[in-house]
């Protein structure tokens, strides 16, 4: 008798498992579902978590204010672990669960899969932080962040104007497309006068000891670092322990958050740390500061810190919301049952129109005014970059 029960249980388990394959979390009624994938576990999870929290914050705010003429939004974020191989599964599941509009992916490499997949289904996506040049390749893809080539060129122009005659070094991550992409464009746009003395050093993988690289770069006055802030902080701390002539560290948007590393006292770094980004996460006033406060009120600052990825995601949700509002005003019909493809056409029309301008928290905000953000037809963002000094040079 006992055995029979066991048998039945075992068979039932099998059925339950197979059944589970066919049930997902279906879209609830009367909402517009925004889907995205990003790293929520593993090494890159800090970016994905900030995006998840910030996007959720924006969705909650919009819903509280009544949504889009009563239609609420819903966020569905899946964990891609920063692995491109996971994207197709997650994307298909999202589509099957009723995703109508998307924030794409948080990071570039999964984004390269995402753009191809979403092209087939014609799903609109506005990625907060996949900076790769190829991400908005097709007409349905847009970026909220600056593209890699854009960042490299902008940084080189700044160097040409401000650091003439100085010795320059580059420290980049050789196996990371973000870092190599920016480095390549930076070197292309840099004045020939620098090239003779240009020092280069690089690292790969999860390496965290940079003695040799510091040796290579120790005679440089300005070091350009198109890398993420964790290795950057390692480099800076280790460089304080040897004699070097470095005056300024100059980073791109990956630097963002360097002053917020728990336990890292940025004043122990004697050099100036500047960066070129679209969001100032140290802002003390203006719309950016308001957002930072809202975020920190809601989430654990230490465990799930905010960075520019999150700010961009917040803007993405609002940009989609505003664009849909414009579309509704123009007489388009948008509701919870609008298909993803129709939604894509509607949004594309708005985003490509000359009159659409979104006021957000990323990009340069003048005082209490929000920044001006618009998009060009190729999906790249047009807004003013902010060059700001994270930390002044120690006297």
């Amino acid at each position: 008798m006992k055995k029979t029960i066991c048998k039945i249980l075992a068979v039932l388990m099998c059925f339950a498992m197979v059944g589970a394959a066919f049930v997902g979390c279906k879209k609830s009624d009367d909402v517009i579902k925004i889907g995205l994938t990003g790293p929520l576990t593993g090494g890159a999870s800090i970016y994905g978590i900030a995006v998840k929290n910030s996007a959720q914050l924006a969705v909650d705010e919009i819903n509280e204010a009544g949504g889009l003429n009563g239609i609420k939004f819903e966020l569905d974020m899946r964990d891609d672990e920063h692995k491109p191989e996971n994207v197709e599964n997650l994307y298909t599941a999202l589509v099957e669960d009723g995703m109508q509009v998307s924030l794409g992916t948080v990071t570039t490499k999964p984004g390269l899969e995402f753009k191809n997949l979403s092209k087939e289904d014609n799903i609109f996506f506005l990625t907060p932080s996949a900076t790769g040049d190829a991400v908005p390749e097709f007409s349905n893809g847009y970026q909220m962040c600056f593209a890699d080539s854009n960042q490299g060129t902008a940084a080189a122009e700044f160097f040409n104007d401000n650091y003439e005659g100085k010795k320059i070094g580059i420290f980049y991550k050789a196996d990371d497309e973000y870092s190599t992409g920016i480095t390549k464009n930076f070197k292309d746009a840099l004045d020939a006068s620098f090239s003779a003395d240009l020092k280069e050093a690089n690292f790969t993988g999860e390496a965290s000891t940079f003695d040799s690289q510091i040796q290579t770069l120790k005679d440089c006055e300005v070091v350009f670092m198109p890398i993420y802030y964790t290795p950057a902080s390692q480099f800076m701390t280790q460089a304080t322990k040897v004699e070097n002539k470095i005056v300024t560290y100059y980073g791109c948007d990956g630097f963002d958050g360097i002053d917020a590393i728990e336990g890292f006292d940025i004043t122990t770094i004697p050099q100036e740390i500047s960066m070129l980004s679209h969001f100032n996460s140290t802002a003390k006033e203006g719309p950016a500061a308001d957002f930072i406060k809202k975020y920190n009120d809601k989430y654990d600052e230490e465990k799930e810190p905010l960075n520019q990825f999150g700010a961009a995601a917040y803007d993405c949700v609002y940009a989609i919301y505003e664009a849909l509002k414009v579309a509704v005003e123009n007489g388009e019909e948008v509701d919870a049952d609008t298909s993803a493809s129709d939604m894509c056409e509607i949004l594309k029309k708005v985003f490509n129109s000359d009159t659409f301008e979104f006021r957000g928290i990323t990009g340069k905000c003048e005082g209490d005014e929000k920044s001006h953000i618009s998009w060009s037809e190729d999906g790249t963002v047009v807004k003013e970059a902010i060059k700001y000094i994270v930390k002044e040079k120690n006297a």
């Binding site: 576990t41 298909t92 490499k109 497309e177």
Partner: protein
């Protein structure tokens, strides 16, 4: 009785064939979801990897931690050939696509096979864990080299763009490849060559003494295993728009090894079942645990992994295993307890 054993020999072909046919029928009637088709692709590739690794680990008795390296070679070289040919010849003709796929498979398989030969050579000299670290090192070397190629050749850090086969139907091709893999490897194992390989596993010196050409069989094992890993790599490249070698790190090799060990050493049917279950479990966990719960995914996976391995292998749990055993549960009531425990003991050997 003889009829029964011959049926048992073909059971995996029959099951896989049936599943494929059922899925094709479901696809034709439009019931099969795209996400299930993708899951099937993934499962098929994992089965190929697990079965080919099982040849080295389970039958040849050598620990290999570099299986992802062979896959990487196949994915990159096969994928590159496929990409170039598709660019040159266009991508609209389905027959042409199949021809290109076959060419890519041949190129990927041969290149991976050459690497398998290269790794098989030190295997003749190295023992146990020293060989394991050599294979791990090989995998990492391959990965690092492909990662640092120029953008024009193999894409460098961005990865190699590859053609994506129609995702609604590609699983059929994958399953055909699984059947081919099974056919080759099972026939090899059941032949006199297979017995020679198993003899080397059980006692190399004794095998050599009976006149078995150890060098030859070890190389055959490594090359065949690498060829099928390479083929799986080519198929993998066809399931993605962009292949990046960062995926093929030692963790991926370990993932395949986990599948083989969970399935039982030298048990091809077990490898297939565990490939299906592990892939399925990972997928479901990823889909169910979204948002804040994502961190639980790895914890659950790890606990299940430790639990299963201890349950299946711990000498102290032998009696427990015999008492609560799925096989016993579904076996006919007439069989006595002794018979069941006998089969369990056999399985453990």
């Amino acid at each position: 009785m003889k009829k029964f054993t011959s049926l048992k020999n073909y059971i995996s072909y029959i099951v896989i064939g049936l599943v494929t046919v059922i899925c094709v029928i479901l696809s034709l009637s439009g019931v099969l979801k795209a996400s299930t088709a993708i899951l099937l692709e993934e499962i098929a590739i994992k089965i190929m990897l697990a079965v080919s690794l099982s040849l080295v680990v389970g039958f040849l008795g050598e620990l290999s931690l570099g299986h992802a390296g062979f896959m990487c070679v196949g994915a990159y070289l096969g994928g590159k050939v496929a990409y170039v040919l598709t660019q040159q010849l266009g991508e609209d003709d389905p027959i042409l696509n199949i021809v290109i796929l076959v060419i890519a498979l041949v190129v990927g398989g041969i290149c991976a096979g050459i690497c398998g030969f290269l790794i098989g050579l030190p295997a003749l000299r190295l023992r146990g864990d020293y060989l394991a670290i050599t294979t791990l090192a090989f995998g990492e070397i391959v990965r690092t080299i492909f990662l640092n190629t120029s953008e024009e050749s193999f894409g460098g850090p961005i990865g190699l763009p590859t053609p994506r086969f129609n995702k609604e139907w590609f699983y059929v091709i994958c399953f055909i490849m699984v059947l081919i893999t099974l056919f080759v490897i099972q026939n090899l194992i059941r032949s006199k060559h297979g017995r020679a390989i198993k003899a080397i596993r059980d006692n190399e010196i004794a095998a050599r003494a009976t006149g078995i050409n150890v060098t030859r069989y070890k190389l055959i094992g490594f090359i065949l295993s690498a060829v099928f890993a390479g083929l799986a790599g080519v198929l993998y490249s066809y399931t993605k728009f962009n292949v990046s070698s960062q995926i093929f790190d030692y963790n991926y090799s370990i993932e395949i090894l986990v599948i083989v060990v969970l399935g039982g050493m030298g048990n091809i049917g077990g490898s297939i079942i565990s490939a299906v279950l592990v892939t399925f479990l990972n997928r479901e966990l990823a889909n169910i645990l979204t948002g804040n719960l994502a961190v639980l995914k790895d914890i659950i996976y790890a606990v299940i992994l430790i639990g299963i391995v201890i349950y299946r292998n711990a000498p102290g749990l032998k009696n427990f295993r015999e008492k609560y055993n799925l096989k016993k549960l579904f076996s006919k009531k007439k069989k006595t307890a002794e018979v069941t425990s006998d089969t369990v003991a056999k399985e453990e050997n």
